[in-house]
């Protein structure tokens, strides 16, 4: 009889442990999607700045057609149906690049650079960039936390049983890792 009680006790402890591990995995996964949601909202806010920026620079940057075209082309590319995380990350990188080019080119137009509208846009963008960077870091931290749980013993047993997959970190693409060239506007 005592043996049976012992076995029941062990089973209960194991059951509770499994339940806690499962719940912690779900919690971590939800944390990842929650932070991704916030980050996505911030990225959308930045995408919404594209038409404003285009309107602001249009009168000045007659020669920067290429940059302008790129920006507007990108705007049309950003479709609401683009729901996949990878696609969003790729769009985000392109938008960053285009913004970078416009702000680099604006150095040649002191009048535009000093205009209230442009300054306001620049300020909004700097703020958004800071928030997006914070969201990226939060996202990566939550993914690391989740991935550790998926791969480390003993939670990895539960993860493989219930099909919890590793998630990828938000990485900045190679061109953005390079230091921006300042030789362009100085030439």
């Amino acid at each position: 009889m005592p043996v049976a009680y012992g076995v029941i006790a062990i089973l209960v402890v194991l059951g509770v442990a499994a339940l806690l591990m499962y719940n912690s995995l779900v919690g971590k996964r939800n944390q990842v999607s929650n932070i991704f949601g916030t980050m996505d909202a911030m990225l959308k806010k930045r995408w919404d700045l594209v038409p404003n920026l285009t309107a602001a620079v249009k009168g000045y940057m007659t020669h920067e057609r290429q940059v302008l075209e790129q920006v507007t082309a990108m705007r049309s590319q950003i479709r609401p149906e683009a729901r996949g995380m990878d696609e969003k990350v790729a769009f985000d990188n392109q938008v960053s690049k285009a913004f970078g080019q416009v702000f680099l080119a604006v150095e040649a137009y002191p009048q535009l650079k000093a205009s209230d509208h442009f300054l306001h846009l620049q300020r909004t963008l700097v703020e958004l960039e800071e928030q997006i960077s914070a969201a990226r870091r939060a996202f990566n931290a939550s993914v690391t936390d989740y991935n550790n749980a998926v791969e480390m013993f003993p939670t990895n047993v539960m993860a493989s049983l219930f099909g919890f997959q590793r998630k990828t970190l938000f990485e900045i693409q190679d061109p953005q890792r390079q230091a921006p060239s300042v030789s362009g506007p100085l030439r």
Binding site: Q31, I35, T38, M39, R123, T124, V126, E127, E130, Q131, S133, A134, A135, R137, A138, N140, A141, S142, T144, D145
Partner: protein, 316 residues
């Protein structure tokens, strides 16, 4: 920021003439104190000899006499203390930044200390003095000396007072707008116990979510709790983390920080009573003046150290 050379020049040209006058006051105060103290001691000794047979009553009389002399002595030096604060500390504050204002008898209120949420301990006694307020560049700041304590009673009913925090509490307008609360505390558990320590930190009662940051050195020195994972990182940018580490190294103290209601609070512990005159050492020496100056500079310098005047974000 003012340099030591600038202080030396200020000391020679502006402070020294007034310090000479103050030095006479100090000597007079010391003299009075010695007379009162000496007289009290002599009477006490005499009473002890005379009343040795009176038993406990004699001792009580002597104790009352000595306490009375102590109170009288403090009263007598109070005048000197307030003149000292106006002559030395107030002028040092204005020398550091002329937009700053010093009030010796005011301090950061208890409610602000509690809002900062740096310590969870219940406060039973709170004192604050030596407040400095004003604007450094675009940043509104206030700091003061603060002493917060809690009490315990043993089974004999004896009350013991324990310090929660003693030192400088700094409150400054932060350069980014935010809604939540982020607290940065010195890390003990993680340094001692590694990842197990981090696990324990995530269960700390009364604190919000544990924030794991990327900078390993910052993580070793500090533990961060916040109501918002993203906002905590918006506030603690990689550059601010580096600046906080540098500030910690510079002061060599266990610093506490919190970010509440778009404000930054920094608590720097000190064991000494700050900005008080030293009655028994001369004023005509740059050494102690330089010490007051450095203690003030640490607090005012937070604006530069944390880059609070950079207003490139939405908050202007």
């Amino acid at each position: 920021m003012k340099t030591m050379d600038q202080l030396r020049e200020f000391y020679q040209t502006e402070l020294l003439p007034d310090l000479r006058a103050l030095e006479d006051k100090r000597k007079a105060a010391v003299k009075q104190l010695l007379i009162v103290g000496g007289a009290a001691l002599a009477i006490a000794l005499l009473l002890l000899v005379l009343l040795v047979r009176a038993g406990p009553v004699g001792f009580i009389l002597v104790a009352v006499l000595l306490i009375g002399a102590g109170v009288l002595g403090t009263r007598m030096t109070r005048g000197y203390r307030s003149v000292f604060k106006v002559t030395v500390i107030a002028r040092l504050v204005r020398f550091i930044d002329e937009n700053l204002c010093y009030s010796p008898d005011q301090g950061i209120p208890k409610s602000v200390f509690q809002t900062a949420d740096l310590y969870k301990q219940h406060i039973d006694r709170y004192r604050s003095e030596d407040q400095v307020t004003g604007k450094v560049g675009a940043t509104e700041i206030a700091f003061s000396e603060v002493h917060a304590e809690y009490k315990t009673k043993d089974n004999k009913g004896h009350t013991d007072w324990h310090t929660i925090f003693r030192g400088i509490l700094f409150a400054g307008d932060f350069n980014k707008a935010f809604r939540g609360k982020t607290v940065v505390l010195p890390d003990m558990a993680e340094r001692l116990l590694g990842s197990l320590g981090q696990k324990l930190q995530s269960w700390t009662p009364g604190r919000d979510d544990l924030i794991k940051l990327e900078d390993p050195e910052f993580e070793r020195e500090f533990v961060v709790y916040s109501t918002d994972q993203i906002e905590a990182r918006y506030i603690l940018s990689t550059s601010l983390m580096e600046r906080i580490l540098q500030f910690k190294r510079k002061t060599g103290k266990r610093i506490y920080l919190s970010f509440v209601g778009s404000k930054v609070f920094v608590a720097i512990p000190y064991t000494k009573n700050l900005f008080e005159p030293r009655l028994f050492s001369t004023l005509l020496d740059l050494g102690p003046i330089a010490q007051y100056f450095e203690d003030l500079q640490v607090a005012v310098g937070i604006v530069d150290d944390m880059n609070l005047n950079t207003r490139i974000w939405s908050k202007s």
